[in-house]
């Protein structure tokens, strides 16, 4: 029903769109961040947050706080909101909402597998998993010895199963394998999500394709930078790029052969939307790249709220909250470790 969403969207999606827009109004503002950056102790942060929507989640925490508690509670709020929305959602919105969590699922699988490889305790690992990416049999991941077992034992029941078709090998798991698996899975996930959004059509397809293309391009750049100097061959690297996005296909060809960060930069500067990101960085620098990408992403996510009658707002809201939680974690860490001068290094203001 391209172009006619405004007639029918509110029948099923109206309530939840209102809810999500209400949640968005609760995101911390620049004024909040300024106040938070002035905090001296974690208790100050708690006190400030108690005046925001996080208040009820933090009020029952006993006083010597830890950064992890703050982050955990803030994530809990996001999870509660997500669960509520998922409960209320009807098709196809519920599938859309589920798609949002697959990224976390992939991260969790990788976390557990890497952890067991290094002989960590499973329960300890489970606590570190993102609650949005949990599934029933996640703890059993520790049993698997290689990819094939991983797939056959556990993942075949999860929504990630179709993404696995590319990476079933009988090789034993090692760090490199796992990293490749993560990226292959992510590639398949993004492509699937992209296809799903295209199928939905209308404003959702329009906005989500923009957001997902950005995500795919960012991953492509990150893969390139991270694989420089490793034994990953050019063809293998090329295979990890998602088959859509602004860089697809010619940018990918060029990225695949890059040997250092400046070559990546030269490739990216050919694309006007990314020119501004790289123009902020000095030559040879890649530390600030993450922040620059995050800032650009936040800008794009905020723009998603400018249009009505599409599902992009849900994706954008979840991503913005996650960014906010990352910000809070950074601020709390800086405050806890008395590194207040570095607070602004990684905080991305949302409004």
């Amino acid at each position: 029903m391209y172009g006619f969403e405004s007639m029918t969207f509110n029948i099923h999606g109206g309530y939840l769109e209102a809810i999500v827009r209400g949640h968005r109004a609760g995101l911390l503002t620049a004024a909040d961040y300024n106040n938070l950056c002035q905090c001296e102790t974690l208790d100050d942060i708690k006190m400030h947050l108690s005046a925001t929507e996080y208040g009820p989640y933090l009020q029952n925490e006993p006083s010597p706080l830890h950064t992890t508690t703050i982050v955990e509670k803030c994530t809990l709020k996001l999870v509660d909101e997500y669960k509520y929305m998922l409960c209320q959602a009807t098709e196809p919105l519920s599938t859309f909402l589920e798609y949002i969590t697959y990224g976390h699922m992939i991260d969790n699988v990788v976390l557990i597998v890497t952890g067991t490889l290094h002989e960590r305790d499973v329960h300890e690992l489970l606590e570190k998993c993102h609650p949005l990416g949990m599934f029933d049999s996640i703890a059993t991941l520790a049993v698997a010895q290689n990819m094939r077992e991983l797939y056959r034992l556990v993942l075949v029941d999860t929504p990630l199963a179709p993404y696995f078709s590319e990476c079933i090998t009988s090789e034993d798991l090692d760090d490199m394998n796992i990293e490749i698996m993560r990226n292959t899975l992510y590639k398949a996930y993004l492509e699937d999500f992209y296809k799903f959004c295209q199928k939905l059509g209308g404003a959702t397809a329009e906005i989500m394709s923009d957001l997902l293309a950005f995500e795919a391009d960012r991953r492509a750049v990150n893969i390139t930078i991270n694989s420089i100097g490793t034994e990953l061959t050019r063809d293998d690297r090329r295979k990890l790029y998602s088959n859509f996005g602004l860089l697809y296909p010619y940018g990918h060809e060029e990225l695949a052969v890059c040997e250092d960060i400046d070559q990546v930069r030269a490739v990216m500067e050919k694309y006007p939307p990314y020119q501004s990101i790289f123009s902020k960085l000095s030559y040879g620098e890649s530390q600030m790249l993450d922040k620059a990408f995050y800032e650009e992403e936040v800008k794009r996510l905020c723009l998603a709220f400018e249009q009505q009658f599409h599902y992009g707002v849900f994706f954008a809201y979840m991503r913005l909250r996650e960014q906010e939680i990352r910000n809070l974690m950074w601020i709390s860490e800086c405050v806890a470790q008395n590194q207040k001068s570095r607070v602004h290094d990684s905080v991305v203001f949302i409004f």
């Binding site: 002035q38 208790d43 100050d44 006190m47 400030h48 009020q59 006993p62 703890a139 520790a142 049993v143």
Partner: protein
């Protein structure tokens, strides 16, 4: 004129008419007295502090540590409350009243209690865990033992069958036992088993996972474990399933153990030997009973501790809330230069100054301070808050007015009139003394239970009803009055005040509806004649009566509104508003609709047949024409011409002079000060610290003129539309009486026509239901809303600004439990 002014000045003051006179005060409190002084003021509850540190964030303020400590304490108290409710104990309804403990002592006490509780919880948790383990072990022993035995027997039986076939007549017993031993041996070497217990909800997935992990080379036996076991995390009872897995190989064993761990399945070793099993079971049982007694003792101990906390909990909570409020207030104060005093500013009503001073003195005395608290009045540049001292009765009416907008400081308060006019206008629309009595009973029940209900926590709907109980009371009383005038009792007419003045033309009364009735004696003394019900003259008469009544009431109420604007102008010494707003408005409204009201009254008194529509319409279309048969009194035509001219003059009168005069006044005021404007702001503060003076610094003529234009146009158009709006009184009253007639005649009487008890009962039920829900609830609501509109729009827009802000004193009594 002079005498009139004098008379008005000497009128007794009306309490509710003007809000309390307020003053801005400054307090300079020595640090050692500060806490006590502020808490005494909180008990008094008559001073609204201004936040002098608004630009500081909460954790940069002076008393942030104390606020944090209070937050921490209330967290502990919440923890206790939670624990008490989890333990199923009730915190005592009548708390012990103790002398106030010091905050520091309380803090220590709370920390001790919390520590004790946490320790007890962790102890009992450990015990509980061990208890659970034993319980599970017991179940596994019982059920899994059963599996083992049955599977062994089964195997043995099969084997024996086989052996019977093979070794037909050889020494049977020996062989079989030998074989059995071999089997056992095989069991020990190849076939092993793991037994354990798992949540019922996970069992299916567990089995599937085992199947996949071992590639189907296993045997899974399960049986529900009869009892439920408490889950230590969520404290809920969970159903569990006992399972036994048979498998072979060492590798499978590690895999299965890992899977068990991943699924949170506890595995317990079960010996195959039955006698050993029995022995272990006995041991487990005895240890279980031991643990049970320990656990019980622990729970008793904990409950005792919790009960003793519960006695004080309410008191502690209110104390912590008060302390937090005191520190929050202290955070609004500033330190003076010497850092020895706190400086605060706030609004208080003038009558309360003495009380506040007394409280401050008491505080100084109680804290043995050398220096007293300095309390003095300051000049204010902003408008003070609005404070009405209301009581139980007037509060609801004040709320009705405040819902539209809080009165500007010292502005005439419409609530004074609303107390009567609101219920009365409601009753005009809801006139039925039967329904009125129902409402009255409801209101009386609410009022009789006032003391009990006011302490309870009510639902939102009940709270609304309870809050408006006195509105409901007056509404019902007036409905009874109006119902008597309309002569309606559930739409049944009654001969209360003597016999009817009318009778039918003949005995059958068949033509009452078509031809009407004949009058044969003096009119019915009070209200509408009951015989008219259902006759030809009923509707025309009632419509004419109600329509004219609505116009009379409307014109009267609008006039009252304009007169209040006069009192406002007089109070604020604004002669401009009187001359160029009040006077033309009065003239305009009364020359048109005041005249209409006069005509209505004359028509009623003389019984004339004149057509008032015609008179009013031709008063505009052709004022000079002869009125003919519509003339009601001598000299009506010249009067109409005069009134029309007056109305025409009134429009430019209220539009033009005021802005021009304001402009002139402004230019006069700044004459010869052409270059005084630069530093004027500071200069003016010193010379004329008058708040109204500040706003006129910049004079924008076009803005003022446009504003005046809008105001005038609104009034002129409003005079017509508002008068028409009052016709809703007639419309709703008609709707109400017609609805109740329908329910009475078409439901109740129809059902009564049948000689069948069931139909009668159903009819009665439908009638009662419709009366209760449609007439009593829906109609009350709609009449209420229309009365509300008439007050907010038609009445209050004549004089009420409603742009003030409410007085919110710092008061312990107003601190509610909103923080949980």
């Amino acid at each position: 004129m002079e005498r009139m002014e004098k008379f008005l000045d000497n009128l007794p003051p009306m309490d509710l008419m003007r809000s309390e006179k307020m003053t801005l005060v400054q307090l300079i409190i020595p640090v050692e007295t500060a806490h006590r002084a502020v808490s005494y003021l909180g008990e008094l509850g008559l001073l609204q502090f201004r936040d002098l540190n608004a630009e500081k964030s909460p954790f940069q303020r002076t008393f942030v540590n104390q606020v944090k400590r209070c937050g921490e304490m209330s967290r502990k108290l919440r923890f206790f409350k939670d624990q008490i409710s989890k333990a199923g104990l009730l915190s005592s309804v009548h708390p012990v009243v103790e002398p106030d403990v010091e905050l520091e002592d309380l803090e220590i006490q709370l920390a001790e209690h919390e520590h004790e509780l946490i320790e007890m919880n962790s102890n009992s948790e450990k015990l509980q865990q061990r208890y659970n383990e034993l319980l599970e072990f017991k179940m596994v022993l019982q059920k899994a033992g059963g599996f083992l035995v049955s599977s062994n027997n089964h195997a043995v039986a099969e084997e024996t069958e086989l052996s019977e076939n093979v070794y037909s007549n050889d020494d049977y017993v020996e062989t079989s036992s030998l074989l059995e031993q071999e089997m056992r041996h095989a069991d020990q070497s190849g076939l092993r088993f793991i037994s354990g217990i798992i949540c019922k909800s996970k069992a299916l997935r567990f089995e599937r996972m085992l199947f996949r992990a071992t590639r189907g080379n296993m045997l899974f036996n399960q049986e529900p474990a009869g009892e439920e076991i408490m889950d230590p995390l969520s404290a809920e009872m969970v159903e569990k399933t006992v399972f036994v897995v048979f498998f072979s190989g060492e590798q499978a064993r590690t895999k299965i153990l890992k899977i068990c761990e991943a699924f949170g399945a506890n595995s317990y070793p079960v010996p195959e030997d039955i006698s050993k099993q029995r022995q272990i079971t006995r041991e487990v049982l005895s240890r279980l009973s031991e643990l049970e007694t320990t656990l019980d003792a622990g729970v008793r101990h904990r409950n005792k501790a919790l009960t003793s906390i519960g006695y004080h909990l309410t008191q502690w909570m209110s104390m912590v809330r008060r302390e937090k409020a005191v520190y929050d207030t202290l955070n609004m104060l500033n330190f003076d230069v010497t850092k020895k005093c706190l400086v605060g500013e706030g609004w208080c009503p003038i009558f309360a100054k003495a009380q506040i001073q007394e409280a401050l003195q008491q505080a100084t005395f109680d804290s043995n301070s050398q220096v007293g608290v300095i309390f003095h009045v300051m000049d204010a540049f902003e408008s003070p808050p609005t404070y009405f001292r209301t009581n139980h009765f007037t509060n609801a009416y004040q709320e009705i007015v405040d819902a539209y907008g809080v009165a500007r400081y010292q502005e005439a308060n419409p609530a004074v009139y609303t107390v009567i006019t609101f219920p009365f206008l409601f009753a005009v629309m809801f006139g039925d003394w039967g329904h009125g009595i129902c409402l009255l009973l409801g209101a009386l029940v609410l009022i009789a239970r006032e003391s009990r209900l006011s302490t309870q926590k009510l639902g939102s709907f009940m709270e609304m009803l309870f809050g408006g109980r006195y509105v409901l009371l007056l509404m019902s009383l007036f409905s009874i009055y109006c119902g008597l005038i309309y002569n309606e009792f559930f739409s049944v007419p009654f001969h209360i005040f003597g016999g009817s003045a009318y009778k039918c033309r003949d005995a059958t009364c068949s033509d009452a509806h078509s031809a009407g009735l004949i009058k044969f004696r003096d009119p019915y003394p009070f209200g509408v004649d009951p015989s008219w019900r259902g006759s030809r003259s009923e509707l025309p008469f009632l419509n004419s009566l109600k329509m004219k009544l609505s116009i009379l009431l409307g014109v009267a109420q609008m006039n009252l509104g304009i007169i209040l604007s006069y009192f406002n102008a007089r109070f604020f010494h604004d002669s401009l508003d009187i001359r160029y707003q009040f006077v033309p408005q009065m003239i305009f409204l009364n020359s048109l609709f005041g005249y209409l009201s006069l005509l209505i009254i004359i028509k009623w008194c003389t019984g004339s047949q004149a057509d008032l529509y015609h008179v009013m319409i031709y008063m505009f279309l052709s004022p000079t024409d002869d009125l003919g048969e519509n003339e009601l009194f001598w000299g009506q035509r010249p009067l109409q011409i005069v009134l029309l001219l007056l109305a025409l003059i009134a429009v430019p009168w209220m539009l033009f002079p005021k802005p021009f005069i304001l402009k002139k006044l402004h230019s006069e005021r700044f004459q010869g000060r052409t270059y005084g404007m630069l530093g004027s702001s500071e200069f003016d503060l010193d010379v004329e610290p008058d708040s109204s003076w500040q706003h006129q610094e910049e004079f924008n003529f076009s803005e003022v003129f446009v504003h005046q234009m809008i105001h005038s146009i609104e009034f002129v158009l409003g005079a017509v539309s508002n008068t028409a709006s009052y016709l809703r009184l007639w419309a709703l009253s008609l709707a109400h009486s017609e609805l109740s007639t329908v329910f009475y005649e078409k439901v109740l009487l129809l059902a009564w026509g049948y000689d069948n008890i069931v139909i009668r009962l159903v009819g009665l039920a439908v009638f009662a239901f419709a009366t209760a829900f449609i007439l009593l609830m829906m109609e009350t609501l709609s009449a209420f809303l229309h009365a509300l509109r008439l007050h907010w729009v038609e009445f209050q827009n004549k004089f009420y600004h409603g742009d003030g802000y409410k007085f919110k004193p710092f008061s312990f009594a107003l601190i509610t439990e909103d923080d949980n």
